[in-house]
């Protein structure tokens, strides 16, 4: 009994020590370098800043290239809110009907939904389609792209959750004379609350951190999103490391806040389907 307790504490201390080296040191490095002066940061070493330049670096990053970071934050914010709102509403409708409606098309629809998770999007043909619709290089265009690529994941979560809602509730609402739209938005939607929170939180992190899609479908400075601003401080010949790491720090804050507040929902969303009920 006693030996196992020693092992438990010893193992824990060892694991904590390893985790500090492997996981915390990189984050500490970001934090420290973000607070250094330019010359100090250029040494790239893991050390206490000789002189703290936190505020200066913050202002320099915000002001860089005519306040592009502010533009980028606004763009990313609009993109994230709009695409997640659309994605969640449409996916909830699909997930609900797909689970409830009896039809021989269900197999095909399930297949199409799954393929959205597996198939890598074809880049240039997508650009071609967007150009044809006048959506290329526009924020609404990128928003719809995020919706299209994120739908599958959301539909699967919603469909799984709808199967836990008893049909009797639908029927009760129908007896009260509700039509399909009222049934869905006034009865079903509120019942989906917990899974909606999960989907929203997971997708907000995904869309906010997305780099590839903005790179392809929203090029150009006036349209920058936060992930692309990181390239601002990597010059052709020299890199302003202190500003780069300050920028990394700033764009890490929103996911960090999400994580602190919605830890449980994120975990629920990401592990859904891993365990058989």
């Amino acid at each position: 009994m006693k030996r196992s307790r020693i092992a438990r504490i010893g193992g824990g201390v060892l694991a904590i020590a390893v985790s500090v080296v492997v996981f915390l040191v990189p984050f500490a490095f970001i934090l420290l370098t973000a607070g250094k002066t330019r010359q100090d940061a250029a040494l790239l070493d893991f050390s206490w800043p000789e002189q703290f330049a936190f505020v200066e670096n913050f202002l320099a990053v915000v002001q860089a290239r005519d306040y592009i970071l502010i533009t980028a934050f606004v763009n990313s914010f609009v993109l994230t809110v709009a695409s997640v709102a659309i994605m969640v509403t449409l996916a909830a409708m699909v997930g609900w009907v797909l689970q409830r409606r009896i039809s021989r098309w269900n197999g095909l629809i399930n297949f199409i939904v799954l393929s959205g998770l597996i198939i890598p999007p074809a880049v240039v043909p997508t650009v071609w389609v967007m150009q044809g619709l006048g959506l290329f290089k526009t924020l609404p265009g990128l928003t719809l792209i995020e919706v299209a690529f994120g739908l599958s994941f959301c539909v699967l979560l919603f469909r799984a959750f709808v199967s836990t809602i008893p049909r009797e509730l639908d029927e009760a609402a129908l007896l009260d004379g509700a039509g399909p739209i009222r049934l869905f938005f006034q009865v079903v939607f509120p019942l989906l609350r917990s899974v909606i929170v999960t989907v929203v939180v997971v997708q907000v992190v995904v869309v906010f951190n997305d780099f590839t899609n903005p790179l392809y479908f929203l090029p150009g400075d006036e349209n920058a999103t936060v992930q692309l601003t990181l390239y601002n401080f990597q010059g052709q010949f020299s890199t302003e490391w202190n500003l780069l790491f300050m920028d990394i720090l700033l764009i890490t804050i929103p996911p960090l806040v999400m994580y602190i507040f919605f830890n449980r929902q994120i975990v629920a969303g990401l592990t859904a389907g891993a365990v058989k009920g």
Partner: protein
């Protein structure tokens, strides 16, 4: 990260059969039962999905057979594919894709399972450890890439300076052509192992305690428990981790782009970075051929694996 519930689809029980109701005249039971669930609810999602995902996917098969620039499209048959498999740099990207996916998903399974066992045991500092292992999953991939690029610098980087303290001369992690791809894969594992751990933890927690108690009565040790109880019973979680990390690994682009841009030379290129490079260079047909190849690779690996893993699951 967005693809977590791939394997969940077949696990969801089919909807319970509807109680037979007395059919009203002129309305069959099915139509009546479906009436509150209108088919047009599919429509808005279907339109966006079809136009921006399905149409480009289907069109890619045609455009991959063309020489395609901004101005015109010329049909050239399988020329792009032939070129893809003849130019050494493109072939390298092709093989690297498999190496990268195999390394990252293999490591995520092994390390993820080990960490999950550790983090579900009664260990000191469990909450802290869980949080710290998972947090990199949520951080910007590009930010992580840039950070490790600095840490892996052959001369000034923290990793090699630390090794130097112990008298070891660290390699040029990202500058050595034979090592660059592996180094990026290591960072991918660092960033993604938290998700695998989380999925395994959910699987382990779901194993009924009675199995372990019975094994204890029979005198089984920790090692035996792990191989005879934990490993077989977390099978669904293992399948999810394998499928997810393979899909992610085969398609991975942003980390490689942030750390090496496919270099040095083209030794750490993968199909996804080749697609981007050809796109930038204006070879749209070739880029799209890369997309079709990636599509075929992913499907050819994931689909049989998916079916095979799910069948094994049923047999258990």
């Amino acid at each position: 990260m967005t693809m977590t519930s791939v394997t969940s689809a077949p696990t969801i029980p089919p909807p319970p059969p509807i109680e037979p109701e007395p059919a009203r005249p002129r309305l069959s039971g099915r139509i009546r039962a479906n009436r509150p669930y209108p088919g047009w609810f599919y429509l808005p999602a279907a339109i966006i999905y079809t136009i921006l995902f399905l149409v480009p996917t289907v069109a890619s098969f045609y455009f991959s057979l063309t020489r395609w620039t901004l101005f015109d499209v010329e049909f050239i048959g399988f020329q792009n594919f032939i070129q893809f498999f003849q130019e050494p740099m493109l072939v390298q990207g092709f093989t690297n894709t498999f190496v990268y996916a195999a390394i990252t998903s293999g490591a995520k399974v092994v390390i993820g399972l080990a960490l999950a066992v550790l983090l579900t045991s009664e260990i000191v500092g469990r909450g802290y450890l869980r949080a710290v292992v998972f947090f990199p999953v949520l951080v910007s991939t590009i930010g992580v890439g840039f950070t490790f690029k600095v840490l892996m610098d052959p001369f000034d980087g923290l990793i090699n300076q630390t090794l130097a303290v112990f008298g070891i001369e660290g390699p040029g992690w990202l500058t050595d052509p034979s090592l660059a791809l592996i180094s990026v894969a290591l960072v991918d594992i660092w960033k993604g192992v938290g998700l695998a751990t989380l999925i395994f933890m959910a699987g382990i927690v779901a194993i009924p305690r009675e199995y372990y108690e019975a094994a204890k009565v029979d005198g089984a040790g920790g090692w035996r428990n792990f191989w005879s109880i934990t490993v077989p019973l977390v099978r669904p979680a293992t399948n999810t981790v394998i499928i997810l990390s393979l899909i992610g690994g085969l398609r991975s682009f942003d980390l490689i782009w942030a750390m090496t841009r496919g270099g040095p030379g083209f030794t750490s290129d993968v199909i996804a970075s080749v697609i981007y490079k050809q796109y930038q260079a204006g070879f749209y047909g070739l880029s799209t051929a890369g997309n079709v190849i990636l599509f075929l690779v992913v499907t050819a690996i994931i689909l049989p694996l998916f079916i095979w893993l799910n069948r094994r699951e049923v047999e258990l």
